[in-house]
Point group: C2
Chain length 200, copies 2
DNA sequence: GTCTATACAATGATAGAC
DNA sequence: GTCTATCATTGTATAGAC
C-alpha cells in the first residue's frame, strides 16, 4: 500500500491539499487577488470540494490562521525551554524562528503579509497577536537574565523592540532584496547591538 | 475668488482628488480589494473621469508611485544636507522620515504595504527601490562619520541594517499595535544601540 | 471634460445528480 | 465526497451624448 505524494502517510486527502495550496497562493498574491477557481485548479479538485470542507473562502482562510497560531505556539514553547545566557537564548530564538520559516515558508509569508500589508478585504482577525507573542517571548527571556544579574537593567519593552527589530527587519529584507539575503545577519546584528556602535 | 477645499490654491480638479482618494483606499484596503467604483464614488466623480485622466486602474496606480518616489527623493536630499555627528544625522533622518510619514500618511502606508505585503495582482514595479534608497542614505551618512574618525569602523551594510531596522520596526509596530505607539521610540532604540546592551 | 448607460469577463457560491 | 452546470453579483472598461 503505497502513495504517490512523497510524504510519509496517507494524507492524500483533498482537505490538506487545499490548505497547503491556498496558503501558497495567499502568500504569493494575497487574499483578495486569489480566486477560489485558482485554488481548486492548483489543488486538483473541483469547486464544491472547497465549499464542502470549509464552507467559504473565508472559512478556508480561518483554518489556515488556526494552523499558523499552532505552529507559532509550538515554536515559542521550544524557545522558552532553551537554556543558556540571555544572549545565547536570543540567538537560539533567532535560529529557531528562521528554521520554522524555512519549514513553513508560505505560511510565514502569508501571515507576514497580513500583519504588515493592507487588509485586503480580509475578515476580522487579531493579526497583531503574532507580534505580541513574539514581544512577550523576548521580554520573558530578558527578564530571566535581569533577575540573574547577568545583564544591564533596561526597560524590557525597549529591549524586546530592539531584539525583534533586528530579526524582523533582516527577515523582511531577505524577501524584499534577496540579493542581500544572509541567514547569519540577525546574529551579527545582535552581536553589534550588545557591543554598541560607540567607540570603546 | 475663494475655494472650498481648505488648501491654498485652486487645485480643486478631479485629477488631484482621484490621486489622493485612490491613495487612501489602496492604503486602507489594498490594490486588489479596491474597486474603481469605490474610488470614483469617494472622489465624487464618475467612472469615465478616471479613465480619461489615467487610462486604467493600473495607470492611476503608476501615477501614485511616481508621486511617492518624488516625495522620498525630496526628503532624502534634505537629509543628506543635514550637519552634525553621525548620531545627530541619524536622529535627524529618523525625525525627518517620521515627519514625512505624518504628512503623507496614506502614501506611506500604501507603499509600505506594497513592499512588505503580498503582490495583490499589482503590475510590475521595483518596490524594493524605496528600501534600497534608504539603505544607501544611511550608508552614506555612516561613511562620512568613519572618514572623519568619529565612529567605530564597522561594515557599513551592517550598520545600515541596524539603523534602519530600528526605525522601520518601530514604525511598523506603531501601525500594528497602536496601543504601544511612541514617536520617541526610534531615537531611544538608537541610543541603546550606540551604548550597547552589555554591562559596561 | 464630464456625464448616462451599458458591454462583457470574472468573481464567490450553490443546486442537484451520482 | 465529488462532480457538472449554473446563479447572482461585481469587476474593469467603453460608447456616445453633451
Amino acid at each position: 500500500m503505497q502513495n504517490t505524494n512523497g510524504r510519509g502517510s496517507l494524507e492524500n486527502n483533498s482537505r490538506e491539499r487545499l490548505l497547503e495550496t491556498a496558503t501558497e497562493l495567499f502568500a504569493e498574491k494575497g487574499y483578495a487577488a486569489t480566486s477560489v477557481r485558482e485554488i481548486v485548479e492548483r489543488a486538483g479538485v473541483s469547486k464544491p470540494v472547497l465549499y464542502y470542507y470549509f464552507k467559504s473562502k473565508e472559512g478556508l482562510f480561518y483554518a489556515i490562521l488556526e494552523w499558523a497560531a499552532e505552529v507559532q505556539q509550538d515554536i515559542l514553547n521550544e524557545i522558552f525551554e532553551a537554556p543558556g545566557t540571555v544572549k545565547d537564548r536570543f540567538i537560539f530564538l533567532y535560529r529557531r524562528v528562521q528554521e520554522g520559516i524555512r519549514e513553513y515558508q508560505s505560511l510565514y509569508i502569508m501571515i507576514h503579509g497580513l500583519i504588515f500589508g493592507p487588509p485586503q478585504g480580509v475578515p476580522e482577525y487579531d493579526f497583531a497577536s503574532y507580534q505580541r507573542h513574539m514581544l512577550d517571548a523576548v521580554k520573558r527571556i530578558y527578564a530571566d537574565g535581569v533577575s540573574s544579574g547577568e545583564i544591564r537593567h533596561i526597560d524590557a519593552d525597549e529591549v524586546a523592540f530592539l531584539v525583534l527589530a533586528l530579526l524582523d527587519f533582516s527577515l523582511n529584507m531577505d524577501v524584499v532584496l534577496p540579493e542581500l539575503a544572509d541567514p547569519q545577519r540577525p546574529e551579527r546584528l545582535l552581536q553589534l547591538a550588545f557591543q554598541g556602535l560607540n567607540k570603546r
